[in-house]
Symmetry: none
Subunit: 363 residues, 2 copies
Amino acid sequence: MNKLNTLRQALKRRKIDALLISQPENRRYLSGYTATDSSISETSGVLLIPAKGAPFLLTDSRFELHASSEATGYEIVLYPKGLLPLLKTILPKLNIKRLAFESHYMLHSTSEKLTVMAQKAGIETVALIGLVEKIRTCKQKDEIDKIEKSVRLNEDVFREIFASLKPGMTEREVALQIENAMVLNGAERPSFETIVAGGPNGASPHAVPGSRPLQEGEPIVIDMGLVLDGYCSDMTRTVVLGMPDKKTVDLFRVVRKAQLSATAAIRAGITGREADKAARDVISGAGLGDKFGHGLGHGVGLAVHEAPSLSPRNRKKLQTGMIITVEPGVYLPGWGGIRLENMGVVEENGCRILNQDTTFLDI
Amino acid sequence: MNKLNTLRQALKRRKIDALLISQPENRRYLSGYTATDSSISETSGVLLIPAKGAPFLLTDSRFELHASSEATGYEIVLYPKGLLPLLKTILPKLNIKRLAFESHYMLHSTSEKLTVMAQKAGIETVALIGLVEKIRTCKQKDEIDKIEKSVRLNEDVFREIFASLKPGMTEREVALQIENAMVLNGAERPSFETIVAGGPNGASPHAVPGSRPLQEGEPIVIDMGLVLDGYCSDMTRTVVLGMPDKKTVDLFRVVRKAQLSATAAIRAGITGREADKAARDVISGAGLGDKFGHGLGHGVGLAVHEAPSLSPRNRKKLQTGMIITVEPGVYLPGWGGIRLENMGVVEENGCRILNQDTTFLDI
């Protein structure tokens, strides 16, 4: 069954006549319309999906050409005076009595205006959270192919930059080179702000690249991803220029062992918590349990962070077709960090790793 | 009177005990804290401004150092378990009975959780829109100085890149060079995604730079801006490599005449609608009224798009100290577009244009 029909069924079960989709990845997922929003208050359009009948893409004249060339199967309707006046006209024509909106991607002020307008027209509004996101969690074949291409390009960029890394380059220079190479090689954009964190800076999992020059012998955490054809990649390697010392090698091996242990455990039917535990047990067994302060991984798709979460808090089962990261790490304040991150597809009998790059994975 | 006191007076008039500030530019405007948010659901902190007493910056441990070094005068309070549990503790201690939040920068889903928490604690919530933005609309002297520096750097970057433009370069390459030059010359970041749109791509006012090589003789729309010391610039030039043809020159002259007409009309006391009309009449007079599908301009400050709007829908009067863009354009599907954008300060007796660059303005 296609995505739109799956969604329509879900709407019918909830007795919802139509859903307004404002979340940009959801919009792209369903319609193929690739425009991005510069902010939540500057939208390039919303979808109106009736439970029965053809779907609509509502946008303004700036996006007309773009929308009509991409959102095939959608009727493009322009709103010269804004979304609400258009809805006021179009909803009664479609006989919509119960209209749902995405509570997790609509501003409170917009929801208030929408509700007032709807009430006047005798329409009930329903706040929904995460309905399309849930459908997005398990990827179809063509999506897995696209994600694989995104992973491949990301690895190509990584290797190109890694080959030119030298002590003395600043974290910021390297991050800029990586992001430029992504775009010059055809990526739409980085999927998140690239992390390059040398030595002690690597002790923060969310380090921001700064003016510190890279040094020989220290672990350098590089966490990078890109968007290709809408789909994200996300990979972390920890590399050393010159020779790593014994402490670095020992920590590397613990983290890699944790990653392999989790990879071996992941399959459809185990929970996010169990996947996390497979890695966490290895790190705890090495006496470093308190140095692994984040979850093992997260889903990746049109968004770089999406469901499912591989963490002690997720007791739901993984399903075939989910794409996840496997990224254990250890972080020692004052010394630095080691994180290794691959992406994989959850399959019935295991986890198929999408990465091919093995730089500094097995040392 | 300083900004914080102006805000406190406004809260007292509304009988509000405290305001929660989630909007990132408002947060920076009041506190000086420069952290940015990667998205509306990943905040680097919120301000809690009581109508009486010292203000607070609530954030998590990742931002502690950053916050305490910048938000002087604010008490930094960390939320290890998220914002809501902290508010639940802190609001009763401060004896807050009526708590306002920024309706225009809070997700509906978050507002629902906040309201449930507040009700349990006997606290009333009030949705406010644009209170701090209103204070921000008229700029103080030091803000105008900062914006002028931002405009100047943006023009320097434009001229540096324009000097190296050659047919065959792709839109994406040029956009990337522009954004790199911004950051390497000291900008915090681009203030929006740079537009480079050659030939027919220029027919879309919000074109995304693609793989199309620039060609001689075609109009190339370059719309770019940067953030310097928190303040935004925004400028559009339409340039031609080699010789423009007659059609291009004729359209250029219409757009430039519209821009000059609006610039001459703008002063404190005229409405946004009247400013827009001064340009629109010129374009309509040339028989191109339906090819100018957007408003004439918008305010610029800590945000690249803020009040006031110069458009047919704004019947409010412009005031001294507002900073606005003047950016008429014509867009011909299949052929391309011409847009010319300057920034100016609204003064009592006119509009002082902040731009000095005249590349391809008068041809």
